[in-house]
């Protein structure tokens, strides 16, 4: 039976959140800007699809565009468009073993914040009045998405709650403080739509749980040691760099949208070797190393080998 593509639910949920943000929460953006960034993301996806000769599918790009419209703020329209282009471009350019390394939205936000002081993210703008409405919307995503990688979301919720509650207990603060920090719309968006991105999380369940814990610990360092805003976003970007290593240490089955009825370009597209042929020998050696080290994860290697065989010149 063909299952419902979870991305359609995500697009619906993100659109609802954006409409709510624009009408009720006085987000520092406008309808035109939101439409522009979504359009720019889809446009960039189209251009990149042409350049890399893959089938154009606007769904993932729409999710990136909506997420950017929800999170990225700037006075400059050009910077918004640049953010959308970076998000989509990163998927095609920054890759390792057929996966992109960074969640596109996360990469774009971090790269833009590093590049210019003229962009920012306002984590406080969500308030917590409608928190439970957001929560239900996001939880709906898990139900729709049940076959895929919700474990990383659960693991992150547990780890981040432990960090916040643990810190407050240690400081002797009332529990209203960590609860207030958890009841944050931006955090929900991060937890349900960003860290859980199945294309950038580790392949194995153990790897994903490790990843979620690392992201929570990194966010703790950024927020409570460096006293920097948006700890989770910075931490996710940093931890994404560790995913290739986690995949080697804890290999698992590679995710593809096709499993859930999507029709987008898949995780192991044949064109991969055409633009990054240099990766092939390295990947073979990595795979053979990991095969020796952990023979029980044989599915991953079969999958990898089959795609490599199919694309061998």
């Amino acid at each position: 039976m063909k299952r419902f593509d979870p991305r359609l639910y995500q697009i619906g949920a993100l659109t609802l959140l954006l409409l709510y943000g624009l009408t009720a929460l006085d987000f520092d953006t406008t309808w035109v800007r939101a439409a522009l960034v979504i359009g720019a993301a889809i446009g960039a996806q189209w251009i990149c699809s042409r350049m890399w000769s893959v089938k154009f599918d606007p769904r993932s790009a729409a999710i990136s565009g909506l997420s950017l419209a929800l999170l990225l703020r700037t006075n400059s329209v050009l910077l918004l468009v640049a953010g959308a282009a970076l998000a989509i471009g990163s998927k095609f350019v920054i890759r390792w073993r057929g996966k992109h390394i960074f969640n596109p939205t996360n990469f774009a936000i971090i790269a833009m914040m590093l590049a210019t002081p003229r962009v920012w993210v306002s984590p406080g703008q969500w308030g917590n009045v409608a928190f439970f409405g957001f929560l239900i919307t996001c939880l709906g995503g898990l139900v729709v998405n049940r076959a895929s990688r919700s474990d990383v979301t659960y693991a992150f919720i547990v780890a981040w709650s432990a960090v916040l509650i643990g810190r407050s207990l240690w400081l002797g603060e009332p529990l209203s403080i960590p609860l207030h920090r958890l009841e944050n719309g931006a955090l929900l968006l991060f937890t349900f739509f960003m860290i859980s991105d199945p294309k950038t999380t580790p392949d194995s369940r153990a790897g994903r749980i490790l990843y979620a814990v690392l992201v929570a610990l990194g966010a703790r360092y950024v927020q409570f040691k460096l006293f920097h805003t948006n700890g989770v976003l910075w931490s996710l970007a940093a931890c994404s760099l560790l995913v290739p290593a986690i995949d080697v240490l804890l290999p698992g089955d590679r995710y593809t949208w096709k499993q859930n009825g999507g029709s987008s370009w898949s995780v192991s597209p044949p064109w991969r070797w055409h633009f990054a042929p240099g990766l092939l020998p390295r990947m073979r050696s990595a795979a053979s190393m990991s095969r020796r080290a952990t023979p029980k994860f044989s599915i991953a290697h079969r999958r990898w080998r089959s795609s490599a065989t199919a694309t061998a010149p």
């Binding site: 703020r73 700037t74 920012w120 969500w126 400081l171 002797g172 209203s176 805003t229």
Partner: protein, 398 residues
């Protein structure tokens, strides 16, 4: 409270509207680092008054404007009645309580101590023994600051110095420090407070607007047409407006009342601050040489918050954004044409005027929560508006 911030450098200017006896004034403020004598300065009260006048919400009449300023800063986290100062401190007692007096300064009319502590009970006891009235429950709040290695900036008025200086008010205290923490500790002020506290924050930064990262920051309604009589009642209007907006937002937001590049203003409610005034406020990156053009590098954000423990459980944390869009809270008065003429256009005008005034009345009622009928009465709209209170069928066969 004025906060000058760039990078990790902060200059905090604490003003208060304390009206009691100087001997009853005391503040206890957690600070992130030790503070040396050179980091403390006493400012001129006029600086904050000028900042307030410059950034206050205002009325606009046609293209003219009316400088309107009135709000005093509320006092910060904790102010406590205290008795006469003790003649001497017992160092050993202090040590036995786990409290260390890291430094002791007399600056202007203030006696200032920088304390560090190892246990909150000890600090609470020390403060009580030294005639600071600490509200019950403060100890747990103090404990969390102690665990975060924060120090305590404690100030009382030195009555001798105060008399010698001859000021009838208490001048703002300024503290400069370097820390990545961009926050205001408000929790002490909400412990056992009788009601909500009120705080104005004037943030002077280089890049752009300042906002809270752990609470919503929204703009106060602005550019709304209101009835002419608001000019005579601007203070109650503004107070009611703020109270009503706080109620609508369930007392869980900060309000931006002004956000502007200080290089210019249009209209200006008061003259922009001079370079010297900015330097005095602690804007360290502005040169006071006349031709340096430094004021363009200052962005002023005025935030206004009413808070209590229930709605603001944690301290305010801020971030500087790259937002340089200008905003001011302003309310527009349209003076009607009062000439006498019977032409068609005048009739149309008068009919539209009535509608306009009705709209102004509704705007005002919505902004402030005032009863719309009271507003109409004050506008002398009652008679002209009587028809609108009738049911639609009551006017058909008249």
């Amino acid at each position: 409270m004025a906060l000058v911030r760039d990078g990790d450098r902060t200059v905090m200017t604490m003003a208060n509207d304390f009206h009691g006896e100087p001997r009853d004034f005391a503040i206890v403020i957690p600070v992130p680092t030790l503070i040396s004598r050179g980091q403390i300065h006493i400012a001129d009260k006029a600086l904050i008054d000028h900042l307030d006048a410059y950034s206050a919400p205002r009325l606009v009449e046609y293209f003219d404007y009316d400088p309107c300023r009135m709000y005093a800063l509320d006092r910060m986290p904790m102010s406590a009645p205290m008795n006469a100062q003790k003649a001497s401190q017992e160092e050993s007692r202090t040590r036995s309580l786990g409290v260390t007096i890291e430094a002791r300064y007399t600056v202007g009319e203030y006696d200032i101590l920088i304390l560090s502590a190892t246990q909150s009970n000890g600090l609470e006891t020390w403060l009580r023994e030294n005639d600071y009235t600490i509200p019950p429950g403060a100890s747990t709040v103090l404990a969390s600051y102690i665990r975060q290695n924060m120090k305590f900036f404690v100030a009382k008025v030195n009555l001798g110095e105060h008399e010698k200086l001859g000021y009838s008010y208490l001048r703002p205290i300024q503290v400069a420090y370097e820390s990545p923490k961009f926050m205001l500790p408000v929790r002490l002020g909400t412990v056992n407070a009788a009601g909500p506290q009120e705080l104005f924050v004037y943030a002077l930064t280089r890049k752009g607007r300042v906002e809270a990262t752990n609470y919503r920051t929204i703009k106060l309604p602005s550019d709304v047409d209101v009835p002419l009589y608001v000019r005579e009642e601007f203070t109650p209007f503004y107070k009611s407006l703020f109270t009503e907006q706080v109620r609508k937002e369930n007392m869980s937001t900060l309000f931006t009342e002004y956000a502007w590049d200080m290089n210019w203003c249009d209209p200006c409610a008061a003259d922009p601050l001079s370079r010297q005034e900015l330097r005095d406020l602690g804007v360290f990156w502005v040169s006071n040489e006349p031709n340096s053009g430094g004021a363009s590098e200052v962005f002023l954000t005025r935030l206004h918050v009413r808070y209590d423990r229930e709605h603001f459980p944690e301290d305010l944390v801020f971030q500087e954004t790259g937002d340089r869009q200008n905003f001011q809270a302003r309310y527009v008065l349209h003076h009607p044409w009062t000439g006498s003429s019977d032409c068609e256009a005048a009739k149309t005008y008068k009919a539209s005027l009535r509608q306009r005034q009705e709209k102004e009345a509704r705007n005002l009622a919505s902004l402030t929560g005032w009863n719309v009928n009271d507003v109409r009465r004050k506008m002398n709209l009652a008679s002209s508006d009587a028809t609108s209170d009738k049911k639609w069928w009551q006017t058909i066969w008249q």
